[in-house]
Symmetry: C3
Subunit: 257 residues, 3 copies
Amino acid sequence: MFEARLLKANLLKKILESISTLVETANFDCSPSGISLQAMDASHVTLINLILRNDGFESYNCDRSLSLGLSLVSLAKILKCAGNDDVLTLKARDEADTVTFVFESPKNDRISDFEIKLLEIKNEQYGIRDSDHTAVIKMPSAELQRICRDLSIIGEIVTISADKQGVKFSVSGDSGSGNITVRPTSDGDAELATSVDVKEPIVLNFALKFLTHFTKATPLSPSVKISMSDGVPVVVEYKIEDLGYLSFFLAPKLSDE
Amino acid sequence: MFEARLLKANLLKKILESISTLVETANFDCSPSGISLQAMDASHVTLINLILRNDGFESYNCDRSLSLGLSLVSLAKILKCAGNDDVLTLKARDEADTVTFVFESPKNDRISDFEIKLLEIKNEQYGIRDSDHTAVIKMPSAELQRICRDLSIIGEIVTISADKQGVKFSVSGDSGSGNITVRPTSDGDAELATSVDVKEPIVLNFALKFLTHFTKATPLSPSVKISMSDGVPVVVEYKIEDLGYLSFFLAPKLSDE
Amino acid sequence: MFEARLLKANLLKKILESISTLVETANFDCSPSGISLQAMDASHVTLINLILRNDGFESYNCDRSLSLGLSLVSLAKILKCAGNDDVLTLKARDEADTVTFVFESPKNDRISDFEIKLLEIKNEQYGIRDSDHTAVIKMPSAELQRICRDLSIIGEIVTISADKQGVKFSVSGDSGSGNITVRPTSDGDAELATSVDVKEPIVLNFALKFLTHFTKATPLSPSVKISMSDGVPVVVEYKIEDLGYLSFFLAPKLSDE
């Protein structure tokens, strides 16, 4: 028997809106320590890694680990039915072929319950190493979203260059070329601060299309962390309040591609 | 000679936005007691019944009854030209082949007048019996709109079950199934209260598509009344301030359809 | 060497949004006295005339006149990347084949620079005579925008009639016909006042499609000036703060067209 109660149904709604355009089906792996999800997009270019810790839930009961294979498209539809302030309870019986989502409105005058059929999805675990990155950029998530949206009007590949002075996003296309440089901030709201922590200058190229996809997670967090090293995928990570985080991995493009 | 002056042109605008996607042409039947309109949608599944009483108008003159056959599509276009606070005067001469809509802005610095050609439309009267319903539900109109919109993502047929505990809207589809239960409220704003008045429990099925259409009338009223009895059409009624009401009739679907 | 610094990058953004759907490419003619642009739409029905005076810029350096031929579509894309409060610096070297746009955010924590390739565009000068018009109407730009949008639902040709009582916009189409009359205001905010200055009554017909295009310049100014004379193009002019103005010319349609 698995049962988890989340005070903010809204958080799961935002998570699904972030990933359901990249991945159609995925396993929610529920264990005593929490829920995790790993999935690659259809083109096998990006990897999604979601961690929701048990202590971020209002209550969390998981006797033994189980894998809930779900159509993220169906789940996103059902989460659309959740009110912004609803409380969500997630229930699955052992050996069951469905999972139940119960939404309660704050005043308790509306209760909704939805049942989704479970799917058999091959469980792939992608070994994610916690590497020591050459450059770690922390910046307002809305700023990254805006930069990706703006630059994707001009071209398809973005070059991200980071050094102690800041981080530069460059793109070039038929209509011209452009650079947006973001500088570290010293003062102000720590959540919205920009910091650039580099061991040595680094320059990497990425498909702007996928970065733009990742920024759909912007509503989850005011801040985003971008970790880059030569030859390994960039990690774009959004913290999910006290619950965990959602991170995206994208391999750099070789510059002569 | 027919002439009626309505302080809130906006109300007629909202009425047309509620019905012009269901019905293309209709007769506005003007009599000394007020204006009424009855029309069925093209598929003859739903009936619209509109009543605007003479005493809800600022002034109302109708010597003898006349039927103004109008393209609701054309009328909706013209009402789009009305400002939100405009005063509307509706004018038709006896035996005329046009009707005139005059809009005056509150400060009287803009006057618009529009003339629409009248159409010959066969006048059908649908005998509407004021029956004594098994269940009468009063709930916030925005809540009904939201439920219809949310559930229509999941399936096409909604089952409405009412008993003393509340009213349950259920739907099932390929992505799963769901129920939204609304409970009667005791406290709070009477206009936004939910009440469920049932003689005996009742369960009926309806095409969600049409219910969703009806909820386009939501801007007309904060509250909606749903009246159900076995074997007769459900009535979904929106009160139009002091002017009258707009109601929609929809026959239930047999459960084995 | 040409370099101009504009405190409100936003103004150029709004200008481009006003004209880039009418004209695809145009020369920005930079001279010591300022920047001007003249262009006709593809169908050669309307003429755009833009004047930006040197003293409206924060700094303005232009040794000798040069013509910057630009794709307005590309430029509009790049201006989409400007923040609402960004400062813009426009730079072009003599004999260069590109022009550079630099945007600085107010806090100076984000700097963007874009380079656009210059195009060879045949420079046509359209002699614009500053004629003495029969009727000059000043009205809120949002009101003109609304009238054009509303009436274009009904028909394609608008008849504008001006006399001392006010200005009347008339249209007729399959769904009916309509008139919107705007009267001069005496009191209130001078910027939003309506005034009608007529030497003698005048009636002219215009293609509503183009007038509607012109009203895309509404965000530039709260007020618009319409100058009409028999047999010459109407001038629809939007003042651009202390910088200059954007005007559109449209030849009247003969009434028997």
